[in-house]
């Protein structure tokens, strides 16, 4: 599990750094690194559940017609 979290955290941090890395100094980068662990642990927990392939998302989508 620890390795998984680290891997996910690495991937997310790498993306974050590419997008916004130039905005942060080293001290801030370290804080970001710690903060992104929360996101990484969240998605790893989320993915720990297996679901049926057909399970619908809870979404309010309905096709739109102006007159309805």
């Amino acid at each position: 599990m620890e390795d998984e979290v680290k891997t996910e955290s690495d991937i997310l941090f790498c993306s974050l750094n590419r997008l916004y890395g130039n905005r942060f100094d080293l001290e801030m980068q370290n804080k970001l690194r710690a903060a992104i662990d929360t996101v990484a642990k969240t998605v790893v927990g989320l993915r720990s559940v297996s679901m049926a392939q057909y399970g619908d998302p809870s979404l309010p989508f309905t096709p739109f017609r102006k007159e309805d």
């Binding site: 974050l16 905005r23 903060a35 996101v39 927990g45 619908d56």
Partner: protein
Amino acid sequence: MAANPVFLSIRSLGDLLRTRKVSPVEITQIFLNRLEEMGPRYNAVVTVTRDLALQQAKQAESEIGSGVYKGPLHGIPYGAKDLLATAGGIPTTWGAACFRNRCFDFDATVIRKLRDSGAILAAKLAMVELAGGMGYRQPNASFTGPGINPWDPTRWSGGSSSGPGSAVSAGLIPYAIGSETWGSILGPANHCGVTGLRPTYGRVSRYGAMTLCWTLDKLGPIGLTADDCGLILQGIAGSDPKDPTTLKRSFSYDSGMAARPFKLGIIRNVADGTSEPMRRNFEAAVLKLKEIATIDEVALSDLPYDEIARTILFAETSSAFEDFIASGETASLTAPEDQYTPYTRMVLSARDYIRALRLREIVNREIDAVMARFDALVGPSRPTCATKLDADFPSALRGAAKDTMGAIGNLSGLPAISVPSGFSAEGAPTGIQFMGRAYEENAIIAAARAYQSLTPWHLRHPPEVLSQVPPG
């Protein structure tokens, strides 16, 4: 004036106003003075809307005087969390310094509905910046300063509806409108020893309210009693073409006696990890509830409720504030962690968000099957009492321990009400929550009202504040 209006319930105040024993202008003056004089002590107020309030009070006085009584909110002042848009040059700051002078040219639907009910807007109340959605982890996260608890000025009022919680607790205002995405009504109600109602998702229009998360945000009342919250909810609920997520089901508050015994459930191990006073007072509350209810333990499936709710929160927040974050404006926020934490949510994948929404559907069905057997599930309102102003907390969403009821309740859009359940040894309030099936606000309000009829906790007020209440 025949009676001192401070700490009177809305029902009592309404009766006095309807029978013209007190005047809307007189009571509005009293609350405006308290907001101006005592509000700064608690960092509870952003803007006192004195001119508007007196104008509305004079109108209410004239209407009631001529026999036009609009209902229980008519002539009673209230405060609105400062994420509700207000026209007329009244700023709407969202608790953030960069928006301190920002004005809208329209009223939020809730503000309009309350105006139509004859209610008097007396103040825009303080809040955690951007409703706490940027990831704050300590109380000093608003340009108005940390919310200070009227029960103990070394403690936090809770967030993100910090101003509504402390203003009602200190008797600065009879009631307030707050918002909850996860914990922002129940938390301040718990910490400040008042009653807070989170309605079913879609029960109250979000039009004109700051968006934090489209599928989690709810607006609801904070007041002194469960009965007050029912009266207020009736005034603000209803479908709204400007908010397509509002429910077509209407809400009519039923203040009559509910059938007893109530059927209550307790999620197995729900109090695990909560602080000692929260657990002790919850156990005492359960003993008291056994006088009016059957209580059964329930086991829930082992699902990652926290993670599902958090993923939806992170993803929707990062989208709602994408421009704000990408532009670097987070650097202007008060809490240092709010300046960088939002970036971490910008890299969540769409796949994970959809996964969370698929799991949400599973949770919705499972919890509804459980809830169908009960009037309410009960549990501690929060994992802890109000923490110290200088204390960090591990999570703004759930505090120091897991918040299973908060995660499920907000994830599935279920109503919940927090009422005072006692105090810690140091005098900090604790709360118990009643969480109901979707659309069953009347059931949880009835159970909470019955609990309040058996207990004195909601009648207690901060000693420091009581010494400044004018004699009745």
